[in-house]
Subunit: 218 residues, 4 copies
């Protein structure tokens, strides 16, 4: 069996477990941040789950690297997976893949290209926005002079950032918070590109169909 097929089999088998691990990661992290009054033991459980899911992703990454039979070229071609392993906040993106698997199993027909782009952009934005709000809230709530004081403020700030509106009534003031903010801005730009690009290509498609339907002599 060659490298290609082994890798494909591994990816098919780990798709669902890793998606569920992402959900657990996001849930444990959310509990840890949003319910500070929990007994200490629960905080420890959350922390353990967070670290454990990270270990799973690391393991999956290592196995796939091994199976690929390549060296540094693997890091280059799988840069998204590398990022997901290094940056925990991007881990929820795995849920998008889980969502696709579940939909496929339900036997629903594959959506059109535009619907898929919009759906993936939407789900990714919601997940990254939620994870970003959690992380910014965690780093900002204790900072002196912070304007983001409640989780509601953090979500409101994340929404205005992702839409590239940027009111500026609440903004992160800590270096870590601002670093996460820059990541969210990049997501906002990508979201804008996805929305605009889909719309534009949809219009062009509709238009070229109308052209085709006209009689050839015009």
């Amino acid at each position: 069996m060659d490298h290609e097929s082994r890798q494909t089999r591994w990816e098919q088998r780990t798709e669902v477990p890793l998606g569920i691990a992402s959900l657990i990661f996001l849930g444990a992290y959310a509990l840890h941040v949003l319910v500070p009054g929990m007994p200490a033991v629960w905080h420890d459980v959350c922390l353990t789950l967070t670290v454990a899911t990270w270990g799973l992703f690391l393991l999956d990454y290592a196995v796939r690297w091994r199976l690929s039979g390549r060296r540094l070229g693997f890091v280059h071609t799988h840069w998204l997976d590398t990022l997901v392993v290094v940056l925990p906040l991007l881990r929820p993106l795995r849920i998008v893949r889980l969502y696709e698997v579940v939909q496929r199993r339900h036997g629903e027909p594959r959506l059109s290209l535009h619907a898929r782009v919009i759906t993936y952009a939407g789900v990714s934005t919601v997940l990254l926005g939620f994870a970003g709000s959690l992380a910014v809230y965690q780093h900002e709530r204790g900072a002196p002079g912070a304007t983001i004081r409640t989780f509601g403020d953090s979500v409101w700030w994340a929404c205005s950032t992702l839409a590239t509106v940027g009111y500026g009534d609440v903004t992160p003031v800590t270096p870590v918070g601002r670093l996460i903010a820059v990541g969210l801005m990049a997501c906002g730009l990508a979201l804008l590109g996805a929305v605009t690009g889909s719309f534009s290509s949809w219009l062009i498609q509709v238009f070229s169909r109308e052209e085709d339907e006209r009689p050839p002599g015009r």
Copy 2:
């Protein structure tokens, strides 16, 4: 007579009444919010009209569901109608359809695709911006620490949000106001996508025509 044709006939007949109902809904809601000094009886009339038009939309939705002869699939394929029934602020979008009917009756030729997209995007933006300003103003005017104090402030805020400019000199502070704001931001993104997409596809179309008009040998 099959499901399809019955449904089409129903939709053709209810198009104008429902459009007028949307106008009445928007008018009654605007009166209720903008003229707080009206006698109490007028406020009751406005409230009654608001609820009555909502009843009409609910009825129309129920009849069409029935006529379709389907179950949950109807909710899936008519998600825009479902949203309009659930979220009253989206109801004015029906007026866009009324506008189209009126134009068709006047015998005016159908606009080109780009003109139609720009027109619909423009009319929808104005209607949603107006409805959003009303709703945000209603929820913010009494809030402690609110920066949106007059309806003018609310309209100004809605404009800067829809253009994704977002000055942040006046911003909603209540949870409900911020929820409506997030909806308006999504509209702003869609508007941007419509403007950019139309422009882009128009340019491509003009360009491909110029290509066609050149002599084949270049």
Copy 3:
């Protein structure tokens, strides 16, 4: 001689005088706003020039309406000219046309479609941004609680608005100033659409050329 050719002759003859009238309009308005310490007689001269150029535009509009031999249909098809007559701030847009005439007389070759779109969008943005800054400055400088106090502030605000950045450190507070601001926001959206659309269609064009240059068998 039919309506069509008479109208074309009129437009060719009035192109340069009306463009120069726009320049005079913008110059007189700028002097009036930016040099408040001028002797009163100079202010009167500026005002007279402003009104006189408006009269010229009105006259041109009336003559063209007459020549077209149509009634209300003229207003509909020449909505941009109608807007320019009604809204003085849009008058500098005429200078764009003058720019085109001058370039043509110099015998320079016609630019490519993308270069033309970018050039026109750029020149229009600079002209409207300048006119908008002037108008906002005129209405804001005396207002109580205004943050736009110098012409520099006004230009800075106009730039951040046209790029849809919208810092909000200085913002108009008077109703007229905000009305002009909404107009500038719309220009900003259009500018964004022009930049994005040109870029997108340029990429598509380059790409389809690369496709053509490949050997047919791939």
Copy 4:
């Protein structure tokens, strides 16, 4: 040997030295701005390097003008090079070309059009954002009433500007700082256009491929 080939040879030979000169320019400028506590002699070294690299660019520009055998037409067709000579902040853009040369020498295959556009837009944005942050920080740190007080503030402001988010919690207040800011806004618009345009043309390309793969009879 005609003008064309001489010019090409000159450009190939100076590509790497000028790229390195840009790196030295950016490094010396960054040291000068970010380490104010350096001994005076080091500041002098930085200043000398900054001026020397500018001299190199000027020399390269002059030689190429000479080699082209043209007069003012050269300024017109090489407007980007002219801008780079006049505006020192645009000089780091040369590093983008260096990056391309290095990649070519490593024998890596040429990227696809979309990957190249995204890569160049990304690298240019990072370089211009860094140079812009440095320049704004240099002009703002001593200004009375400035909100940009640390280099971190300046980078944070540059990021929010390039993403067209524009919070406005920290903004330049000096005329020079605002002038640089307007330049960064223009870069932000161009970045947005590049992201959106690439996405849109990529979607259109994927879509037309799917169309081609369908059986002709549909």
